[in-house]
Symmetry: C2
Subunit: 351 residues, 2 copies
């Protein structure tokens, strides 16, 4: 199948670039003591998760129960659900997962520990948890140090299996590179690692100290005491992340068609915010000098023609680079793996 035969709009991944990104990240984690448990939330594709495991990843991180279910039902082990769960339906789904696979979930409050503990006793299944520590992001997570220790002790006392700590430094990942970013990420990791040491000093098992994203992997992944990194966006990348991380190439785009041209003023593409995310800013045109994306409507992209000699006409193909890969992949159910002009593989996006 050729690019020209694809129904537009369609999500594309450049296989060459994706494979280079995979190798570059694997090479980083082949050295040092930290390992990679890449985040599934970004690509939501079991076939890509398998490639990450084949390249050395020690398991897969995810953000939702639905993602964990997709991974577990594909036989994937070593799942870190790096998020909180709370209500009875969520707890029961997690119990079902724990019967299927090796999975752990974050906890940051006593109510969740109590609910997981009660469910574990009812179901006769030991449940694994990691204490989620707020390292400065101010979202989920319990305070580092004594509060984290107290919650870890409660979890163990209630019969849960404590695996360690997680602490996503989300306030650092999109800082521009430089000493300020290094300092911010190291400060966050200090809170996490010192909490881990405090737990250990109280006799608690801390196998896992997990943090990091694509924007901080090279800093947090070299902090002594951090055992693993959760980065996910590195594989497909996007133009937003590339402003702060140039280690990886852009692999993700949306293919569309010019459906209208008004003189030398504007083009309209059949790609809208239902196919490519504008949640953090506008995407940009791939390999199309002389034109610039002005705005995204629900089903249309409005492109200003800057160069009157622009050759694009109605019916021609155009690609937009994803600006926010997470939210763009989330809009699609399949992704075409392109080797040049050919579709080499169709990736199903499972959750």
């Amino acid at each position: 199948m050729l690019r020209s035969q694809i129904r537009t709009p369609a999500l594309l991944v450049d296989m060459d670039v994706m494979e280079r990104n995979l190798s570059a990240m694997a090479a980083f984690f082949a050295e040092g003591s930290a390992r990679l448990r890449p985040h599934y939330k970004n690509h939501k594709c079991v076939a890509l998760a398998r490639r990450q495991l084949a390249a050395g990843a020690i398991g897969i991180t995810c953000a939702t129960l639905g993602e964990a279910e997709a991974l577990a039902s594909s036989g994937i082990q070593g799942i870190l659900l790096a998020n909180e769960i709370a209500d009875p339906v969520q707890i029961e789904r997690f119990v079902a997962l724990a019967r299927l696979t090796d999975i752990m979930v974050g906890v940051d409050n006593e109510a969740a520990v109590a609910a997981l503990s009660a469910a574990s006793a009812r179901a006769h299944v030991q449940l694994s948890v990691v204490v989620d520590v707020d390292t400065g992001m101010g979202r989920c997570g319990i305070g580092p140090g004594q509060p984290a220790l107290a919650l870890a002790q409660l979890a163990v006392a209630r019969g849960l299996r404590l695996r360690g700590l997680i602490g996503y430094e989300g306030h650092c990942v999109r800082l521009p590179p430089g000493p300020g970013k290094v300092q911010a990420a190291q400060t966050a990791m200090e809170k996490l690692v010192s909490s881990a040491n405090l737990l250990r000093s109280h006799g608690l098992p801390v196998e896992i100290v997990s943090a990091g994203g694509t924007g901080t992997y090279s800093i947090s992944g070299r902090v002594p005491g951090v055992t693993e990194i959760q980065g996910g966006s590195y594989l497909l990348m996007d133009t937003d992340y590339q402003t702060v991380c140039t280690d990886f190439g852009l692999a993700l785009s949306v293919l569309g068609t010019v459906i209208s041209r008004t003189g030398n003023e504007r083009l309209i593409l059949n790609i809208g915010l239902k196919e490519i995310s504008g949640e953090r800013g506008l995407p940009s045109l791939k390999n199309t000098p002389g034109a610039r994306l002005r705005k995204l409507n629900a089903e249309h992209a409005v492109v200003d023609i800057l160069d009157p000699n622009l050759s694009l006409q109605v019916g021609d193909a155009v690609e937009l680079w994803a600006h926010y890969s997470d939210a763009t992949v989330n809009l699609h159910r399949q992704m075409f793996g392109m080797r040049g002009e050919c579709v080499e593989e169709t990736f199903f996006l499972e959750s």
Copy 2:
């Protein structure tokens, strides 16, 4: 099934409110000469389209070939694809649709007319078109008057069946109510209706003069010469549209769970921008005084606690009103129809 048994996050529709919206719009179009061909793009649900038809709609408008395919394969007739198509794959999909159902598509350029004409001759299927007129929005559409006439004449000369004109006044629908909005919409409709009259004066058949959205239906739907309106958002509504149109109630929300609470500072919900759109602004909490949504991350909503007596705790259910219904529905594959606390029906979102 009860609300408390639903897996969160989940898309909900309040059946009572939705039915009131359906009736209110039907009552408007029971008078006057214009009819309603509601837009499927908003809810993407064939079961809801059937209710709109049962309430008097004369057919269904849609924005993409995928939507048209979902409608046609469900046996729905009278489909207006109010958009342009251009490349060979799109043209072939449209030919296949024309074999299945009564469908027409917008054209705004000679290349598309030529491509449709050639495909029609090859396939021995007559294809129906409407000329898309730019009534001032500046997106798709050919200029009103002489350019629209010339394109219509070309379509007929090339063997296409001309059904009429479409002209979405998208630059008016979100203006605040008042004389300025009335003037703007009427000015746009004047361009469309005068174009229709010009075509008729040249002997061309103009059965359909279609325009309008939820934000302008009551203005454009009473302009003499406008035969039908395309509004779609009226059925489910959202907090953005409600700032300019108070004729309909909010029916669409996303149900989530409080997964973390940090003292009297903040709550975290398991609803992110992957489940509710923030593309045009932030959603808001339903029936939750004392708290305010501060931001949406990919999988989390961060809620500021304004009232220290707020009773919401980890594990409790919370709903967010959709701020942008089109883009929110697009994130889901099913929607729970709620009658009070009970799930009365599960709606599948088919495209």
